[in-house]
Symmetry: C2
Subunit: 193 residues, 2 copies
């Protein structure tokens, strides 16, 4: 059964080892921030730094494992219609909107949505790491090191599928930052199989 995450909101749910999570962009050009924690000990969470190090690349796709801060495989990408996701930047937050957008009364962003959804599982704000940002398009200029946030390459119905390497708590959003989603806020769909 496919579930919907409303625009600028987030959810948390459990995903058992061996099951698959399909994250779908139903309208196109919409980012979904993904977090994962070991359900048996939420001190173990997704690590972009370890994952990129072991992969020797910043763009991950089918076949690539996502490692924890203890170097265990939390998720493996087993299908991917898009091939461009970001694992460099933290979830958008009040601070993002204040610092980058100059907002006076900022939305709580993916960070606030993830923190609220994950709190019942014992995950605190300080434990929220850089997320795997499904469909987020962040090209890096290899010469200068400059990065930009561009429109996602995802088209309506495109998906990325993960298989769980351990029993997990997942946090997932429909991203709240204008720039990341080409200027509009759309829902995200997901399905567990």
């Amino acid at each position: 059964m496919t579930e919907e995450i409303a625009p600028r909101t987030g959810v948390a749910f459990t995903l058992d080892k061996g099951r698959t999570l399909t994250v779908i962009d139903p309208c196109g050009e919409q980012v979904a921030d993904l977090l994962a924690f070991n359900r048996a000990d939420v001190g173990e969470g997704l690590s972009g730094g370890r994952t990129l190090d072991y992969a020797s690349k910043i763009y991950l796709t089918t076949g690539d494992p996502l490692y924890s801060n203890r170097s265990n495989v939390m998720l493996e990408i087993i299908a991917d219609d898009v091939g461009r996701h970001d694992f460099l930047l933290t979830p958008c937050s009040k601070d993002t909107f204040r610092i980058i957008y100059g907002d006076k009364d900022p939305h709580r962003g993916c960070f606030g949505n993830l923190a609220a959804a994950l709190a019942p599982y014992g995950v605190t704000e300080d434990m929220i790491p850089t997320a795997f940002n499904c469909f987020m398009n962040v090209p890096v200029d290899g010469k200068t090191g400059m990065l930009t946030v561009e429109a996602p390459l995802s088209k309506a119905g495109d998906a990325i599928v993960f298989r769980a390497g351990m029993d997990l708590v997942i946090g997932l959003t429909a991203c709240s930052a204008l720039q990341s989603n080409n200027g509009s806020f759309k829902p995200i769909h997901y399905r567990i199989d």
Copy 2:
């Protein structure tokens, strides 16, 4: 007074708000992994994801602030002889040496050295984020996203200087990974002014 960190070891020390920390590569081509925690509450630590997001670039140098996971400025780079440091990859660890190098009896690496040095300040292993890797040279191919670990650009005596934005606990190493240091392990020097 200049202090020496022996090859493949690490230290922790306090740095008061407003003071400067100079990290020196005395022999050239040697990386130093740097961590910072809020001394009043070590739940607040360096965040690569927030820093790169706000800077819109992956290579930081003079004038760039390093932000915490709560979006406060922990350190600002106020001088830099080298201009190439890494903020993408986690400290090398037993896991790095096992997964990337295939070592049977791996060294504890910068991760183990930082964990041991920071433990007396209440920092646990799970709280160790991606470090700011002084002098580490990780070019990224903007087209493919592939990254490589190359010889540091630092020459003997080159330094990077940080000013503390709050009262900090600092973790600092002479990096333990062959690839990061062009095949040999050398000391790191530092000075507090």
